[in-house]
């Protein structure tokens, strides 16, 4: 409604560049020579039919998969192989298509796990909660409370995640990712399986995250309405190849994209 995708924000230079990425699993070529970039502060969507290589692309970005060819440049540092742990330390957070939370733990504790990489005190100090460790925990708790407030999940602080409905679990997943205070946030189908109202809420949260925290966002999404509404630029994959790249309007008008994905009748 109010501030659209371009509500006065300024998009900066390239933070993430992918150059000639190819990824194969045996004979299956998941990605073939794909190149694109993500600029600071933008919402970048990756779309494409099932099996087009979208999730593989995210997995390459945060180091789950190591591409056979090509380079990934994040924050000016070129890399070929990086493991997930290093990617997280560099400020890349993600949410998962099939929520990855600790179902038996409370919402609060789950989000606190997102602060893990930022905790400085040692295991022992944390376990017995001595002076500095306690202060540190309070600090982190404050940061987590900000996120809880931001995502409007105050009512569920103490609820075990497994007891929450799906849409809320997705929100907690996002909260956990945000708790890392990431520079780059990868969202894998944040709206899959949601009803209209939940989708609308999620859209607003994504836009707000992008706006308030200045987080750069790369997202995969199937709901075309959502993608076209909130993204600044869209990249289209089909059978592991890039077939379109540009603003939502450009992509919408691209014949290859229409044929491959949106259906010829459109």
């Amino acid at each position: 409604m109010g501030a659209g995708a371009n509500g006065g924000k300024s998009i900066g230079g390239v933070v993430l560049g992918l150059e000639g990425i190819s990824l194969a699993f045996g004979g299956v070529r998941a990605l073939q020579n794909v190149s694109f970039d993500v600029r600071e502060h933008e919402i970048r969507a990756i779309i494409g039919p099932n099996g087009a290589g979208k999730s593989s692309m995210l997995n390459v970005i945060n180091g789950v998969y190591h591409p056979q060819e090509g380079t990934v440049t994040f924050n000016g540092v070129k890399r070929r192989d990086v493991n997930t742990h290093e990617a997280a330390a560099q400020g890349i957070a993600r949410t998962f298509q099939n929520i990855a939370l600790f179902k038996g733990m409370s919402v609060l504790d789950n989000i606190m796990t997102g602060r893990n990489l930022r905790m400085k005190s040692g295991l022992l100090a944390q376990a017995i909660r001595i002076g500095p460790a306690e202060r540190e925990e309070l600090q982190h708790r404050e940061a987590v409370e900000q996120i809880i407030d931001f995502l409007e999940i105050q009512a569920y602080r103490r609820t075990p995640v497994g007891r929450l409905p799906y849409g809320l679990q997705k929100r907690v997943d996002l909260a956990r990712a945000l708790a890392m205070e990431p520079k780059l946030l990868l969202l894998d189908e944040p709206m899959a399986g949601m009803n209209v109202e939940e989708k609308q809420d999620m859209c607003r949260f994504i836009l707000d995250v992008n706006d308030q925290f200045g987080t750069t966002i790369v997202l995969i999404e199937h709901d075309m309405g959502v993608v076209m509404d909130i993204s600044d630029r869209v990249i289209v994959l089909d059978y592991g190849k890039k077939i379109g790249d540009g603003t939502p309007d450009e992509v919408r008008g691209n014949q290859a994209v229409i044929d491959a994905y949106l259906g010829v009748s459109h």
């Binding site: 109010g2 924000k9 900000q146 809880i148 105050q154 209209v196 609308q200």
Partner: protein
């Protein structure tokens, strides 16, 4: 400063700031922590806000729209407007833009204060068609950083402006407050509009303060009460309890973190003075019952055993009546094992006085709360009477009356059975509607409530229904639809009921099941369902509802006057009645005529003896989109009973 009378709200605020500056005035839970402001801080905030509004051009007599959840700054905005001789107009936070627009235009509003982005967006939409709205001010800046419109400002910025004004002209605001008079309009509330367009009810400082003073005296409310303000600010009750009475007695108002956290927040605060419409008490009870059914066998047995004890003697003990020592001991044991913990879970451990009003409360529901030791009472009133007509006295509680006329209130029953009221706590007029004002206030100064009722032998008022809803069956028997519906609604499985019968040969009813309670019931029986529509049409659910209807019929049969009103045929609606579809008012009262018209085909089917009827209904989703719900509705018969009261009469 000379001695001034405390006859306006700004003066009351100044008085508290002087007398009890350190006493907490208002709290709000923010980022998981309760933040509080004492009276002197509140006074400073209000002054800054008032001066800021004045800087923006807010003048004496202007209206200030306020829309959002219960937030400290929104309450302060009310006092700020009153300091300047303006009139706050709180609005329902879930009202759609079109409804807001009507009020904005009707009241000629130039200034609006919104809680957050959601409300600001609605107001921007309104502004396109109501250009008279000059300023939109907001409390929570989230998501609003990039709104470039020059007419949108944060309340922080307004208060900053105000502080500048205070530095330049320190005496300005006191002079403005001095200009205020008791007979100025303090607040304008729009009626929910069960019939026709909403009307602005103008209430003066003196009326609201009279009502607050009467209520505080009646229940001995002092500065140490704690109240949770979670009901819509646009509703007269919230204005009386959370605003007027708090400012009069100086007690603490607590704003919950969000609408969803009310239960948790209530447990943390432990209010001593509590108000909720029957629906909230009903929902709480439903939740308790659901959780008890899920509890282990021992706990379940304990709960049911001691609830039986409470049902026998709990309410009597609370009323200070004579109860045998054996029962007393059992009750004391129950208090330790069940009632105490239960009150704690409900957040009502410290409740000294609790009220309910707005709709009739089921006698069993009412008795449940009283029997576990919560001093729940009923009151009777309306927006026009500042929710202050009748109150129940401690120790003299009857289940089916609303108590005696409150101090300073005169109540008379018209020949038609309508309840008439005259008091110092009455509204001044309907805004710009002298015709409507003249219709409801007669030449002798009595307000026509539109409710039908009578005084019982103890001088307590008993309300049976809306005067216009009371009708007659074809055989001439009296028919009070609300009375029947309330009987049905007490069952935890039934959320809403609409009865029909005026001019007909029998009573039939629409039922809305309670998706929470029935859903849980179905899950425990392994009955799969995909949603409300599906669940509502299950044979098992029909059997469940039929059982409830028949129980209600058995109770109706006991009362000779009402035994003809037993429900013969019923159906379960395929969708929940919803204010967004205009079927309920924002205070969730059924719009009877609208529903009857919209579902005419269903009513015809009920009375024509059909066993099923197809219907397709348009529904409005929360995001404003429109969709359709259709279903083949089953229609079932319920057993009726011969009037058993007759025997006694003979």
């Amino acid at each position: 400063m000379s001695e001034r009378s405390l006859d306006t709200f700004p003066r009351l605020l100044q008085q508290h700031a002087a007398v009890r500056p350190e006493h907490p005035a208002i709290r709000e839970k923010d980022l998981g922590i309760w933040q509080s402001w004492n009276w002197s801080q509140v006074a400073a905030e209000v002054r800054a806000l008032a001066c800021g509004l004045s800087e923006l051009g807010f003048r004496r007599g202007d209206s200030l729209a306020i829309i959002g959840d219960n937030r400290p700054r929104l309450y302060w905005a009310m006092t700020a407007a009153q300091c300047l001789g303006g009139i706050p107009v709180p609005m329902y936070q879930d009202a759609v833009a079109l409804e807001l627009e009507y009020v904005l235009q009707d009241a000629g509003i130039r200034f609006a204060i919104a809680e957050d982005q959601e409300q600001v967006d609605k107001l921007i939409e309104c502004r396109e068609r109501s250009p008279g709205l000059e300023h939109i001010l907001y409390d929570d800046p989230r998501g609003l950083r990039h709104y470039q419109q020059p007419y949108i400002r944060s309340l922080d910025a307004v208060q900053e402006l105000g502080r500048g004004r205070i530095a330049r002209q320190p005496a300005f605001i006191d002079a403005e407050i001095d200009l205020g008079k008791a007979e100025d309009v303090a607040i304008m509330l729009y009626t929910s509009g069960t019939t026709g367009k909403p009307k602005g009810v103008c209430i003066t400082h003196s009326a609201l303060i009279n009502a607050a003073r009467g209520g505080c005296g009646f229940d001995r409310l002092g500065p140490d009460e704690e109240i949770l303000s979670y009901l819509p600010m646009a509703w007269v009750g919230d204005n009386l309890f959370s605003y007027a009475q708090s400012l009069l007695a100086g007690f603490t108002v607590n704003c919950p973190e969000s609408g969803e956290t009310v239960m948790t927040d209530m447990r943390e605060i432990g209010p001593t003075y509590y108000f909720a419409p029957p629906r909230v008490f009903e929902n709480l009870l439903t939740q308790v019952m659901i959780r008890i059914e899920d509890a282990g066998a021992t706990k379940r047995w304990m709960f049911h055993y001691f609830m039986d004890v409470a049902r026998r003697c709990g309410a009597e003990i609370l009323d200070g009546k004579r109860v045998g020592s054996g029962e007393r001991m059992l009750y004391a044991l129950g208090n330790v094992l069940v009632y105490g913990p239960l009150r704690n879970v409900l957040g009502m451990s410290r409740v000294r006085v609790a009220y309910t009003a707005g709709a009739a409360i089921g006698p069993d529901l009412f008795r449940f709360y009283r029997s576990i030791g919560i001093n729940l009472k009923q009151l009777y009133g309306s927006t026009e009477t500042c929710a202050y007509v009748c109150l129940q006295q401690d120790g003299k509680i009857k289940l089916d009356t609303v108590g005696i006329p409150a101090p300073g209130v005169e109540v008379r029953i018209a020949d038609s059975g309508e309840v008439l009221v005259k008091s110092g706590a009455m509204f001044k007029e309907y805004y710009k509607r002298p015709d409507a004002t003249a219709e409801t206030i007669d030449a002798d100064g009595y307000f026509h409530t539109g409710d039908a009722g009578f005084f019982d032998a103890d001088g307590q008022l008993k309300i049976i229904d809306r005067a216009k809803d009371v009708g007659k069956l074809a055989n001439g028997a009296i028919y009070a639809p609300n009375y029947i519906e309330n009987k049905l609604k007490f069952f935890s499985h039934i959320r809403e009921a609409v009865a029909f019968g005026h001019g007909r040969d029998m009573v039939c009813a629409f039922i809305n099941i309670d998706i929470g309670a029935v859903g849980n019931w179905a899950e425990r029986r392994n009955i799969p369902y995909s949603g409300y529509t599906d669940l509502a049409q299950k044979g098992e659910v029909y059997a469940l509802v039929r059982e409830c209807v028949e129980k209600a019929n058995a109770e109706l049969a006991l009362d000779p006057a009402l035994s003809a009103s037993q429900v013969h045929r019923f159906l379960i609606l395929h969708k929940e009645l919803d204010p967004d579809d205009d079927e309920l008012t924002r205070t969730r009262k059924v719009r009877r005529n609208f529903v009857a018209e919209k579902y005419k085909v269903l009513i015809d089917a009920l009375y024509s003896g059909k066993t099923a009827q197809f219907i397709e209904t348009q529904v409005k989703f929360e995001d404003g989109r429109i969709g359709k719900v259709s279903a083949d509705l089953r229609i079932e018969e319920a057993k009726t009973y011969p009037p058993s009261g007759v025997k006694k009469a003979a």
